[in-house]
């Protein structure tokens, strides 16, 4: 007889470890364990048979893979955690004894650690890191806007700000921004970095309420990792674009001179610039996003190379298969989109969110400036005759320039999403803006498409250039037509009623010819539907569940879309009715 097997000494029970056990095994406190897990990207696992893993107990526990914990055991950062603990203890003791010199000495030797190796380990390839950039960007953009109030390390906030600015510079330099969306939560941006979609959100530029139900230690641990990762990614990205990594603005000193001819203004400008010192100034100019970055010397050669490549591609174009042609077309569209605002000179009023707007306009090749007193980095003044668009977000009081369009900021966002410059009608100051639609919605499979989106699609195809020409006029025309129709309709109805009356009066005592049984000859659609119904009955049970699930989902989607269209229709009808009423009232008056 063999040895009696004990329970829970093999199988699933040995593969998992509870969180408490893991802490003990690593000799870490829970807080340190948490930090380590965040940095190393270790997450718990849900065992299939929880009771078996829990050795018969049913208490609720968090389980980790034993292998993961064993992997953590070798982490050099753990030692640094311990050193830090000792450091804190020593410092406390020294301070309690009022030994200032010793305390200072201890403070100077504060243990620091780097997490480069962790970044490398978690993202063995560069593209992995790019793929995982979303959360890092969101977090850094949030931290860059947090107040330097002592709750967080100021260095962290500064670093986040620096990194985010650098990232935006990269996007501008490569013109890789694809989609923008203004949500009530903030600005969503989607860029294509190394042909990976990267989406991030920037909060609206107002102070946050400091929340009480948020553990900022967790957040700052995440940020610690994200800043390191983002920094390395940015370094590599800048390298691929032949840019200096800590970004440099070429000829920074010349900027001041070239800008304004007016002496007075220049003086004022110098005054403003004297508000911040030289170090800050360079940072601020970089952060204004309004200057192209300095490239390495040999960049020009590469550009030439790129031009040559394009020529080669043009030559190659002739012998392409269909799919390749499609790709080609797609890339051409992309290139077109990149040059969306090229040749446009835009001026931002001070109520417009500057950073986001500058970022978007510059990413699509436009020139942009703002009032010189609103911030550093403006390149031309409001009275420049070459300005094509001025972005305004409040009622206009001053005298407008005739040579430029005055538009609301939504025009920029909508144009970017439509991949073309939309007609400015409807976006002028004081206009009721058309709805701002999300570019992230998948419109396939019978999903609901709002009528505004359909209009934009039509515009993109170039089908109906006059559709946005003048809504009011159109609606007026509609109204007049409708009224006519109504009148006609009323007449018709009366006629019909008369006819019916006549019919009713005639006697019914007669043998009516029998009707043909409609059921006997089904139309082909009905037959096909019945055939399908019968075939569905024969789906094997296993697949029928799946089939029914899919069908259920489809039906739900359809229902939702239907609800939305109904709602829209009701709203539109109501609008029309009120407009008509007003018009009638006017006419009566």
């Amino acid at each position: 007889m063999g040895k009696i097997k004990k329970k829970y000494e093999a199988g699933a029970a040995t593969q998992y470890i509870s969180r408490k056990q893991a802490c003990r095994k690593l000799q870490l406190s829970l807080a340190d364990f948490r930090r380590l897990c965040i940095l190393k990207g270790i997450y718990p696992h849900e065992p299939v048979h929880k009771k078996r893993v829990n050795k018969g107990s049913t208490t609720n526990k968090t389980f980790y893979f034993l292998k993961d914990i064993q992997f953590l055991l070798h982490e050099p950062v753990i030692n640094k955690f311990r050193e830090y603990k000792i450091y804190v203890r020593r410092l406390k003791k020294a301070e309690a004894r009022l030994e200032k010199g010793i305390a200072n000495h201890i403070r100077e030797n504060k243990p620091t650690y780097r997490i480069d190796h962790i970044v490398r380990e978690r993202y063995p390839n560069f593209i992995d890191a790019v793929r995982d950039l979303d959360d890092a960007l969101c977090m850094c953009f949030l931290f860059a806007t947090l107040p330097k109030s002592g709750r967080l390390h100021i260095q962290t906030i500064d670093l986040c700000r620096k990194l985010t600015v650098e990232f935006m510079h990269y996007v501008i330099a490569t013109r890789s921004l694809r989609k923008v969306f203004v949500s009530i939560k903030g600005f969503y941006f989607q860029a294509e970095v190394m042909s990976q979609p990267v989406t991030w959100i920037i909060p609206h530029s107002f102070p946050h309420n400091h929340p009480t139900d948020v553990d900022f230690r967790v957040m700052s641990t995440f940020t610690e990792f994200y800043t390191a990762m983002l920094g390395f990614v940015l370094y590599k990205l800048y390298q691929t674009q032949n840019l200096h990594y800590p970004p440099r603005i070429p000829l920074l000193s010349n900027v001041n001179v070239t800008l304004n001819d007016d002496n007075k203004k220049r003086k004022r400008k110098e005054e403003i610039q004297s508000l911040c010192d030289e170090n800050e100034k360079s940072l601020e100019v970089v952060a204004s996003l309004n200057m192209p970055l300095a490239q390495f010397q040999d960049a020009n050669d590469q550009e030439e190379d790129a031009a040559a490549d394009e020529e080669v591609q043009d030559l190659l174009k002739e012998g392409l298969t269909e799919t390749q042609e499609e790709d080609q077309k797609k890339s051409e569209d992309e290139i077109k989109q990149r040059k969306l605002f090229e040749g446009c000179k835009m001026f931002l009023s001070r109520e417009v969110p500057r950073e986001a707007m500058v970022f978007i306009i510059r990413s699509f090749g436009g020139e942009v400036s703002w009032d010189i007193t609103a911030g550093l980095g403006s390149t031309f003044s409001i009275d420049d005759e070459k300005i094509t668009h001025q972005i305004v977000d409040r009622p206009m009081n001053e005298k407008p320039y005739i040579s430029r369009y005055y538009v609301q900021p939504q025009w920029i966002f909508d144009s970017v999403n439509a991949k073309m410059q939309l007609p400015v009608k409807g976006y002028l100051p004081g206009d009721v803006l058309p709805p701002h639609l999300s570019p992230f919605v998948n419109e396939e499979n019978g999903a609901y498409v709002p009528p505004e989106r359909q209009k934009v699609i039509a515009l993109q195809r170039g089908e109906d250039p006059g559709i946005n020409a003048d809504e009011d006029e159109l609606s007026e025309e509609d109204e007049s037509e409708e009224e006519q129709e109504e009148e006609d309709g009323e007449g018709d109805e009366e006629n019909v009623e008369e006819n019916i009356d006549e019919e009713n009066e005639s006697p019914v005592v007669a043998i009516t010819p029998g009707k043909k049984d409609v059921d006997r000859k089904l139309n082909p659609d009905q037959i096909a539907a019945e055939e399908k119904r019968l075939a569905v009955m024969m789906i094997p049970k296993k697949q029928r569940r799946l089939y029914e699930k899919i069908k259920y989902g489809e039906r739900r989607k359809k229902r939702e879309a239907e609800q939305l269209t109904q709602k829209r229709k009701a709203i539109d009808d109501e609008k029309k009715a009120t407009r008509k009423k007003e018009k009638r009232r006017k006419r009566a008056a």
Binding site: Y188, D213, K551
Partner: protein, 721 residues
């Protein structure tokens, strides 16, 4: 002018200084230098005096220079000396306070100092100015109320103070320094204690301290302070992935990479998240209320869509940080799992079947409706010629219909008002007989319909029967042996029942639920549920005798069926169908129906395939050569299946259920044994209404046309062609 002035000053240098006369009340203050406040007061008074003095001086200079040349007479000095003992003790107070008093203070002895009578008007003043030689050096002392003529010493003092030099003229500010303590060397020391030894030897404590430090340095414990650099605080970035391309990962690294599940990306916002969404995405008040009431997990959106007229009106999202934080929590607290998402086109799941159009003929629409029954029609049967249809309803009436015209030809009402459980035509074409299961009896009826030769021959056949004596005894013996009651046969010869067609009555101990004929029409099998072990009875018509084939019976028998060609009997209990060989008298097969409660049985005319309908909506097709498990299970009906049947000629089968539908399917059985039967549903026949949760109760095919009859709880029988 300047020269004159200098001359005048030089002349007056010899005058002695009279301090006390100038500052009578502050003579002590010079000694008491430390009191700074008093000092400042003195200075201020000095300044005042100085100002006045200079004023006068200038005036005088302007007036005449000649008067100055004369030395001053000594009588002026006498006046001053008179005043010397006159001192006011009120202190340094504003003298305006004494304006309304006759006196201006008190002298050292405590006597009042009366105000001098000075009623000088402007003229007097002018005259005084003109005449008095000393007017320019006269100062009014407010404290004493007297005029005081400054002496030349006093004037000199004033000049000195004005220049900022010393108070007295005799002090040399640049005297050679004399070291007070050591310029005289003493011959005796201050202390005479001899020096201690330790002041000559090196300190041990220091040595130890130094030793410790040296040791610490040697051991590397003590390090020089690091140079402070700002750059060290900022993280430095470099090309982290430089070597990855060249380096091949180890196996463990590869395993980790393989196991790692990247975090799912957050869902991207839809139109409803816009700051200016289309109006159809804005919730109504009810929806907002519902959103607020709902649990956080149940909400479809985690925010209420809002509309703002312009971008500048959009406020900060109040829970932005919380949202990020919850994402962080998700990232490090949520278990991750790979979920396989099925990307299937639902159309691909539908099996590719031959089109029903190609499988004709089959019944497609309702042709006739047989109305007449007053209660639900539980059972129907078509005779072998296909001309007559018999039906039995719950009020105990049996009707025989002409199939082609839906005319009711016979109505047999004499059986009582108990529900007719089962009717069945005798499949033998040479006789015209109908077996009816009613209460605990089986009644054999000759409905006298159709060919007169046949039905009269049937009667004569029944009458010619001669029971054998020994058979009766054997019957009795058998019954004793099997311990069951052999049901007695009774011949009906006269009366109303005879006129109605009743010929034979077989009485059973309990209610009969089902009766079925053998294909040759001689044997009858019936089910008597609840009759212990003898639930199945076999009756032979020609010999008018009965037997119970089973000595024991497992489970409640639901249905029995004869094999069309071979001596097999199918007995369906609730979950199994047992196949007995009647010749060998043994169980040959036990089929598992995979259902909870079998309701009906039908056998393919070929005899190798069996159809089993059950109350749990399943219709199972058994290929008896293949397996004891169903070849195919179909769920055509949403509710219980009540009956199923095969067409005797066409490859068709049908099932009727409580959902009121009859589903006709094409069921082709190939003679090639290697090919499985082809089953294709071809038509769902609708028309019957569902009453009291009962729909189609029975269905049967026409013997040689592709027609199907169905009877239902809505008291009708319908023919679909």
């Amino acid at each position: 002018m300047k020269a004159k002035k200098r001359q005048f000053l030089e002349e007056n240098t010899s005058l002695s200084l009279n301090q006390e006369s100038l500052f009578p009340s502050k003579g002590k203050l010079d000694i008491d230098d430390e009191d700074s406040s008093d000092e400042s007061v003195v200075e201020s008074s000095d300044e005042e005096v100085l100002e006045k003095e200079t004023e006068y001086f200038n005036k005088l200079q302007a007036k005449s220079a000649q008067t100055i040349e004369k030395p001053y007479s000594s009588d002026v000095d006498d006046d001053v000396s008179d005043d010397e003992d006159l001192r006011n003790t009120v202190g340094n107070i504003p003298m305006e306070w004494y304006e309304n008093f006759p006196h201006i203070g008190y002298d050292l002895d405590g006597r009042t100092i009366s105000k001098p009578i000075r009623n000088q008007d402007e003229l007097d003043k002018f005259l005084d100015k003109m005449e008095n030689k000393n007017y320019w050096r006269t100062v009014h002392d407010k404290q004493t109320g007297r005029d005081h003529v400054l002496t030349s010493e006093e004037l000199q003092l004033i000049q000195r103070l004005k220049k900022g030099s010393f108070y007295t003229s005799g002090i040399d500010p640049h005297e050679p320094y004399v070291d007070f303590f050591t310029h005289e060397k003493m011959i005796h020391p201050v202390t005479n204690i001899p020096e201690h030894k330790r002041s000559f030897t090196p300190s041990i404590i220091e040595k130890r301290k130094v030793g410790k430090l040296v040791h610490a340095i040697k051991m590397g414990w003590l390090k020089p302070r690091k140079p402070k650099t700002d750059e060290s605080e900022e993280p430095k970035f470099y090309d982290l992935w430089e070597e990855t391309e060249s380096k091949t990962p180890t196996n463990s690294e590869l395993a980790r990479q393989k196991m790692a599940i990247p975090a799912p990306k957050t869902q991207l916002p839809g139109h409803e998240a816009s700051y200016n969404p289309p109006p159809e995405y804005l919730p109504s008040q009810e929806e907002i209320d519902k959103w607020k009431e709902d649990d956080e997990d149940e909400r479809k959106l985690d925010f209420i869509p809002e509309k703002f007229d312009s971008l500048r009106q959009v406020p900060q999202y109040p829970t932005f940080i919380q949202e990020r934080f919850s994402r962080c929590l998700d990232l490090y607290l949520c278990p991750r799992q790979r979920k396989m998402k099925v990307m299937v086109n639902p159309e691909e799941l539908i099996p590719n079947l031959p089109k029903p159009k190609d499988l004709q003929p089959f019944p497609t629409f309702q042709a006739l409706c047989y109305k007449g029954h007053k209660a639900m029609v539980r059972t129907i049967s078509v005779d072998s010629t296909g001309q007559w249809l018999a039906s039995g309803s719950d009020d105990g009436i049996i009707r025989v219909w002409e199939v082609a015209t839906s005319r009711c030809l016979r109505e047999i009402t004499t059986l009582g008002d108990q529900p007719v459980k089962c009717v069945s035509w005798c499949p033998n074409k040479s006789v015209c007989l109908l077996a009816v299961a009613l209460e605990n009896k089986i009644v054999i009826i000759n409905p006298s319909i159709g060919d007169k030769l046949i039905y009269s021959a049937t009667d004569s056949l029944l009458q010619s029967f001669q029971p054998l004596a020994d058979e009766e005894t054997t019957n009795k013996q058998e019954s004793e042996k099997s311990n069951a009651v052999i049901p007695p046969w009774k011949t009906v010869e006269t009366g109303l029942p005879y006129q109605d067609g009743q010929r034979l009555v077989i009485t059973h101990p309990k209610d009969v639920s089902k009766v079925t004929w053998h294909a040759k029409g001689d044997y009858l099998a019936c089910v008597v549920p609840g009759n212990g072990h003898a639930q199945v009875f076999l009756h032979q018509l020609t010999k008018q005798r009965s037997q119970t084939p089973f000595t024991k019976c497992k489970g409640a028998v639901q249905s029995v069926l004869f094999h069309p060609t071979r001596p097999f009997l199918f007995v369906a209990t609730q979950q199994y169908v047992r196949v007995y060989n009647l010749v060998k008298q043994q169980l040959t097969k036990k089929l598992m129906a995979n259902s909870k409660w079998i309701s009906s049985l039908a056998i393919h005319p070929g005899g190798d395939n069996l159809l089993v309908g059950s109350y749990d909506c399943r219709l199972s097709w058994f290929d008896m050569d293949l397996s004891t498990k169903p070849y195919k299970t179909m769920r055509y009906h949403k509710r219980a299946i009540r009956s199923c049947c095969y067409h005797p000629k066409y490859p068709l089968f049908a099932s009727g259920g409580d959902d009121g539908n009859v589903v006709v399917s094409h069921g082709m059985v190939y003679s090639d044994l290697m090919q499985n039967p082809l089953i294709v549903p071809v038509k769902v026949l609708k028309g019957h209404k569902v009453e009291r949760n009962l729909g189609v109760l029975d269905c049967c095919f026409h013997p040689h046309q592709p027609w199907i009859f169905s009877s239902a709880a809505d008291k009708t029988i319908r023919l679909f062609t």
